[in-house]
């Protein structure tokens, strides 16, 4: 497995290196999977606990990454998530997992205050822990080996810059998972980037579990504020109701619309030009890579990333690349 020296998470160049490294990691694992899994491999058991609601298409791609990696490597990986956003229930599940003493633990950290105690306990119990998706800023302080994901704030900034470049003046950021610090950071990064470009933005909270209501609220926000000319949603569960909401509006009004994260309907919308772009954190890798990393760590104690962030994004899916990504997405791996 390729070793990668310590890098700063803020440098795009280093990020690219990390991603290359990650790709090599996959290759390496693909090669090893040619061989029969050893007995030691079969005994490796990795628990994955995320905050992603089971019904969220984004997280089923992560779960597919976990499953594929486990199959490729011949290890056992169990994917767990509460049915709704609930850091306390996550914390409770991790507590149970510590009792089972797995070979490794993969967690997302959407609420550092709520989860830090239990993650420290896992580390203290001698379980190697890798964090994914949310929690880049706190991972190292909790004793987590490495974080695999994207910096939410930076990704929000990147989205804001693209939006400003596309001519947005007054943008709406739609948050479908109130309480998730990562999503709050995306909105903040987005707003800060727009503000630096001299534009304005505001936030609208909607309910993930209630798409019809979300659609009405988004449409209502645009009717109430005629100056709004752009919108960013923070995930497919926000983007899909938003697409519906835009159809309800006066067709003469052109809204620049982009989202975080992919889903089949998001990709179709990008391909058809109804959306400008989709910020992709390539979450399949957030499921796949930690299983590879932990398996190798258990076997060799070798670990890339130097305790920092292995960046899986942000990548941008635009009208040009959408069609190819749709193929991959249909297989649940993008």
């Amino acid at each position: 497995m390729t070793r990668i020296s310590s890098v700063s998470k803020h440098s795009p160049m280093n990020r690219r290196i990390l991603m290359v490294g990650a790709a090599l990691g996959i290759l390496a694992s693909a090669c090893t999977s040619e061989a029969q899994p050893t007995d030691e491999r079969a005994g490796i058991r990795i628990a994955v606990v995320t905050h992603g609601q089971s019904a969220d298409p984004f997280w089923s791609v992560v779960a597919n990454g976990v499953r594929d990696a486990a199959a490729d490597l011949g290890v056992r990986a169990d994917y767990q998530a509460p049915t709704r956003f609930d850091p306390i229930e996550m914390s409770q599940r991790i507590e149970a997992i510590i009792a089972a003493k797995p070979s490794g633990l993969v967690v997302s950290i959407p609420d550092a205050a709520a989860l830090s105690a239990v993650i420290k306990r896992a580390v203290a119990a001698g379980i190697p822990v890798i964090s994914i998706n949310s929690g880049a800023d706190v991972a190292a302080s909790l004793g987590v080996l490495v974080h695999v994901g994207q910096s939410e704030y930076e990704a929000g900034v990147a989205a804001g810059e693209r939006m400003a470049a596309a001519g947005a003046q007054h943008a709406l950021c739609v948050n479908q998972e109130i309480g998730n610090a990562g999503l709050d950071q995306r909105c903040r990064g987005f707003g800060d980037a727009l503000a630096r470009a001299g534009k304005t933005s505001k936030v609208l909270g909607v309910e993930l579990a209630n798409p019809d209501d979300a659609r009405q609220r988004i449409a209502g926000a645009f009717r109430a504020d005629p100056g709004l000319d752009a919108m960013l949603t923070l995930g497919p569960t926000g983007a899909e109701p938003a697409l519906g909401a835009l159809q309800q509006l006066d067709s003469a009004r052109s809204i620049r619309f982009a989202t975080f994260d992919l889903s089949p309907r998001v990709l179709e919308a990008v391909r058809d030009g109804r959306m400008l772009f989709a910020v992709d954190q390539q979450q399949y890798l957030q499921g796949y890579l930690p299983i590879v990393l932990l398996t190798k760590y258990v076997e060799t104690l070798a670990l890339p990333g130097g305790g920092k962030v292995i960046a899986t994004g942000p990548g941008f899916v635009t009208r040009e690349t959408a069609a190819r990504v749709i193929d991959l997405s249909a297989r649940g791996i993008r």
């Binding site: 089971s54 850091p87 507590e95 009792a99 089972a100 205050a113 109130i178 309480g179 709050d184 909270g205």
Partner: protein, 331 residues
């Protein structure tokens, strides 16, 4: 216990079907999940998961025996947790000064629930459903306006301080101090129900409000008191969680209302009111914790948690239905 007193030695079987249920669930996961579930660490994991729900369920069982529902209890947890974080974390109040405010806030929510139910005669199901939306909406909108976020960390209760010892510490064996609060509440609420005048009134109000009124029971006061106690239990859970998890988010306690009702019904309390036990509700919460954590330990997809829970609820409802028929002599 009204019915059980007639049953005598067979008391536990007839009165606490939840005890049998808990043993079955424990055995099931002992087989499926093995030593990790049976060991002390596993036990701590499911007891800790059951405790916050247990605190709510114990008080909700009194409310349901009294013939009412409270769907707003989950949103009250969110409201009180956020109020605590805003007062202490944002406004800089001392922790101990904020406590009475939190409980007064909960008391007010409970009073409004109870008063509306008593005055309008509308089903509490609807009144408290409305309160759920009001409470949750206020929590999200209020904190976003006041703090610009929906997740507030940094309560700043230091390890070893009195507040931390009372609300956020661990007991021997990895048990959260929350479990001690739970057990304490089971004893207090159980005593109140069985051995106080108020408890007799609760049974009567839930069993037949008109008969209770004819006998001189202050029905409105009993119901309002029960709603206030339920909201106070929510405030206690909000407090325990805010200290332990060093913060709160606006969604805390979501779905707690339904989980509490499920635990209470699994515990053998009739949905129609007038009959039930506090211990049963506590066992219902324990079953809930064992199922949630047991499924994690078997490595099964967590979505099966809901399936198993649904089946358990159905079994409990059917069992309660036949219990009611037997009690009323119509079986």
């Amino acid at each position: 216990m009204a019915f059980a007193e007639a049953v005598g030695p067979r008391r536990f079987l007839t009165e606490l079907p939840a005890l049998g249920g808990a043993l079955i669930i424990w055995s099931l996961f002992a087989i499926l999940a093995g030593p990790a579930f049976m060991g002390a660490q596993g036990a701590a994991a499911y007891l800790n998961a059951a405790a916050p729900l247990g605190i709510i369920a114990v008080v909700v069982s009194l409310l349901m025996i009294g013939g009412e529902f409270d769907l707003s209890v989950g949103s009250t947890i969110g409201l009180c947790g956020m109020a605590l974080m805003l007062l202490v974390g944002q406004a800089g109040w001392p922790f101990w000064a904020a406590l009475p405010v939190i409980f007064a806030l909960a008391g007010a929510v409970g009073f409004i629930n109870g008063w509306l139910v008593v005055k309008t005669g509308l089903p509490s199901f609807l009144v408290t459903l409305a309160m759920l939306f009001v409470g949750r909406g206020l929590t999200i909108a209020g904190t976003r306006r006041l703090a610009g976020r929906t997740q507030l960390g940094g309560l700043g209760v230091r390890d070893g301080s009195l507040a931390h010892t009372l609300f956020g510490s661990d007991l021997p064996g990895g048990l959260h101090v929350t479990t001690a609060w739970w057990i304490g509440l089971v004893i207090i609420a159980g005593w109140c129900l069985q051995r106080s005048r108020f408890g007799n009134w609760v049974f009567a109000v839930g069993g037949h409000a008109d008969a209770a009124r004819n006998a001189g029971v202050p029905v409105a006061r009993v119901k309002i008191t029960l709603f206030m106690a339920t909201a106070m239990a929510a405030a206690l859970v909000a407090l325990l969680q805010a200290v332990r998890y060093d913060g709160a988010d606006a969604l805390r306690g979501e779905a707690m209302e339904f989980r509490a009702i499920v635990a209470v019904v699994i515990g053998g309390t009739l949905l129609t009111g007038g009959y039930g036990t506090v211990l049963g509700a506590a066992l219902g919460a324990l079953i809930f914790g064992m199922v949630q954590q047991g499924i994690v330990l078997t490595g099964t997809d967590a979505d099966w948690f809901q399936v198993l829970l649904g089946v358990l609820l159905l079994v409990a409802v059917l069992a309660n239905h036949s219990l009611r028929k037997r009690l009323l002599g119509t079986a």
